[in-house]
């Protein structure tokens, strides 16, 4: 084991530190600083600009939770936009849905995608080999401004841009969602990761959610534990139509559709994905 420790503040008081078994790669692409390391407990760990993105040990929890609620809320998703998602794991989960005909993944950072294909080849292997996937290396803002396409589902796995909890979230997300909204089909679904759910009021989250609420008829936050993140991790789904999110209906739909579509959901399960929509009130209060 190396004597290196990766340390990240969890909040103004506390920090999580991780001992590295091995540094796999450390450097900087044109767009971001990266670090790939191996941890005894969490396996290969990917850090971008100082934030853990995913760990081998539970990336499947994260990516199943990011992708499948939106997909299961969509009747027969055929076209899907993945914003970010360089590891390939987001596209991998999207492509499990048999109705999917086309996935466009837009990630600005080709060098990072290449690093992922070298150091975590299994994560995205099935996706990158799938002819339904089209990978575009460009700025998502530019892509949204220019593309004539529209999508049944759009999934945001972006590091910074439309993260509803980042400091500059309000302005950013306003212009971002203005561009994104027209690219989502009538009745389509947007899902995006939303940072850690914490106790207490969270003005950034509140503002960002207000921005989403102004654009979409339904907005809901859900949260699932990703153990290697040491937090309940938040996600947001939004839609132009009213989403039916009462427990009875949601459990029934997720279990039925996951079965019909033949999704294994080995890391989460249909019930865990439905249960994620009912986090404790004290962390929901931050909205």
């Amino acid at each position: 084991m190396t004597p290196l420790v990766y340390s990240q503040d969890a909040n103004p008081s506390d920090a999580v530190s991780r001992r590295l078994e091995e540094v796999l790669a450390a450097g900087r692409t044109r767009f971001q600083e990266y670090l790939f390391f191996r941890s005894r407990t969490n396996g290969v760990t990917i850090v971008l600009d100082g934030d853990v993105q995913s760990c081998e040990a539970d990336e499947a929890i994260y990516h199943e939770a990011l992708v499948h609620p939106a997909m299961l809320l969509s009747e027969e998703p055929r076209t899907v936009l993945v914003m970010g998602g360089g590891e390939g794991a987001t596209a991998r989960e999207v492509l499990r849905h048999p109705s999917v005909e086309r996935v466009v993944m837009v990630d600005i950072d080709r060098e990072f995608v290449d690093l992922c294909r070298r150091f975590i080849p299994e994560w995205g292997r099935s996706a990158f080999a799938d002819p339904r996937l089209e990978v575009r290396y460009e700025d998502i803002f530019d892509y949204l401004a220019r593309t004539p396409d529209s999508f049944d589902v759009a999934i945001g796995d972006l590091v910074d841009a439309p993260d509803p909890v980042s400091p500059a979230a309000e302005l950013y997300s306003r212009s971002f969602y203005e561009r994104l909204a027209p690219r989502i089909r009538e009745g389509g679904i947007l899902a995006t990761q939303a940072g850690a759910l914490r106790v207490g009021d969270d003005p950034d989250r509140r503002t960002a959610r207000a921005g989403l609420a102004a654009r979409f008829a339904s907005v809901a936050t859900y949260g699932i534990v990703v153990p290697s993140f040491y937090h309940l991790w938040g996600f947001v789904v939004a839609s132009n139509r009213a989403l039916e999110l009462a427990p009875g209906a949601l459990f029934e739909r997720f279990e039925r559709e996951a079965g019909r579509r033949g999704l294994g959901l080995p890391a989460t399960g249909a019930r865990a994905l439905a249960a994620a929509f009912y986090p404790p009130a004290a962390v929901r209060a931050g909205e």
Copy 2:
């Protein structure tokens, strides 16, 4: 702020460190080493023998999750045994159920209870003032061996003894549950905290659960995020009778009963307590 940091291993690779605003008390009772400190993010934090027990910021999530599922699964709980629970918060939650007539709290460590009443008086104030509460300062093993009483619900908030995930859990819990089982009434419910739910196989948890399964007709693990613990926190409920834990029935029961009993559940909510029974498969796999 002091330059002191409280650091605890989360697993063989990672550690969580917490910066102390102020040391409130540090020492050793006859039974355990204690530390009370104030953290900017989590408020007053209580540590026993090197493990965080509760933090002011979210103790209500922990104690609501420990107490209410068992109470809500019990029809009209009248007598309740609290094993441990020196902060008074477990008894406080129990006493919110209007059917409760008598609560016996057995905690071996009077000095620790006194420290809690001094440094976190609000946590247990309503409980310690409630005539339905009887506090006994003795070893829970001795108490169980001698008492002729039996209970509708028994709740374990013990630091070490019957924690199903401690190394010596198997033998310990075997003899512990042998003593405890006869003190739970026909159809009664046991609930106990069960440590962090992690990814991967967990032989201790598997063994401990097997021990419980041998004694009780129904055993179920549930998990709720307690943000200041930096993990999904596990609990076990067990009963002599079959528990109905399908989502439809469980959400319906918890919402109905919480309403009927006038429980506020400000930190969690009836839905969050029901949802807790469906953790992600990857962390459930440790059973």
Copy 3:
């Protein structure tokens, strides 16, 4: 061992962390925040306002190095002023010199002195029992402004005030040394601790030294390793007369005088005290 760690930045990149065996006392006097703890390696450790003051394991190195060079450079020191020095160890070393007739120790913080007498009674026991010692609990500025006394030797063991390397050092020390200088007898000696000696330019140290140089005919920095400080620790001696600091003369003087006065110097030795005047050029360069 507790799970507490005391952590202190050594410089903008690095930090030293110390695991606590036991917290002996933590709190705040009228003047400063204190922490007394026990470390396995360094024994009882005293922290004031976040800075380690002394550790049982090597306080004798620190206090011998603070006191004896000035005392050995003084012919027959009879009256000595100790500024600060609440632990009693500075006075203890001063009183080893048989010519000393009177020591005035001025420490603003009576509560801290009492804590030292409770938790580290051996450090200052011989001093506090010595009729030649007069302890005054008052602000050193006020004392210097009012006292008609003058001293052969003045020794500064102050936490903040005239520390020549503190940010506000220049102005502070100017007015401080203006008050102090008249209280040192013709040919008398001043010694004060001066913080860690580091590689590279140190503008604060340079400025403070300039302030001393303007007031005193001779100023010299010396440094000795105090292992528990994890740095070469700096001290300054200054005098109204020219000090003879060439190695031949200095070693000869310190060895001869330490012998004549019957000083044991068990932690340092006369040669180590002389050698301290010749630190590596790279750390001397900060002056």
Copy 4:
């Protein structure tokens, strides 16, 4: 700055952690694990098998202190053996002595030497370009067993082997010094780094020194602060002849010879190198 921290235990209680600006290289050669990183305070830092070897900020203090005392104690050193020293800085200092005709540097790890020439080219540039230097990539044990050569001065900058304070030191050094002693000329000098000088008894150091004392007529420990090591760093010189180490003679010799040989000694100075032979008694006691 990266979120990586390099952390190393200083003793059973305390640790030093260093924040990395940039990882320059991390990996494993055939012989050892290496890490080159940049720190804001200490510049490029080289770690082998988890131990800091040298930092750009003060490598000159370390290498001047390792090399020059032995060289200055030798009358007209012509042939010098450098054992280890892959950075090239040890040879660089040796070659400053104008009498030197031949330096043999034996380092087992060619890949590490290549890394040093890539990441810290200035450290050894003058040495590697000097025709008097012969670099051999082989095991020092094998080299000593086979070579017919003998040397005026031998300097050990080895990571593990004959470090007198490593756990296996006694046996190791016995066989090592058996091979080394015949390769040092009559009246020649050996110098080697000896790890941190600490307070208290140090059985390993005592044993290792006894091993040296059995082979050599004179053995002396000296110590100099290397700020980036956070300890007083120990070195040993040994010789077949009696060394004159009284302060008067030693200061005089070092100042005279450094002047005659035109040594700049910018990081230490002749006086600091002489003063290093008189460390505080409390750290000397470990011998």
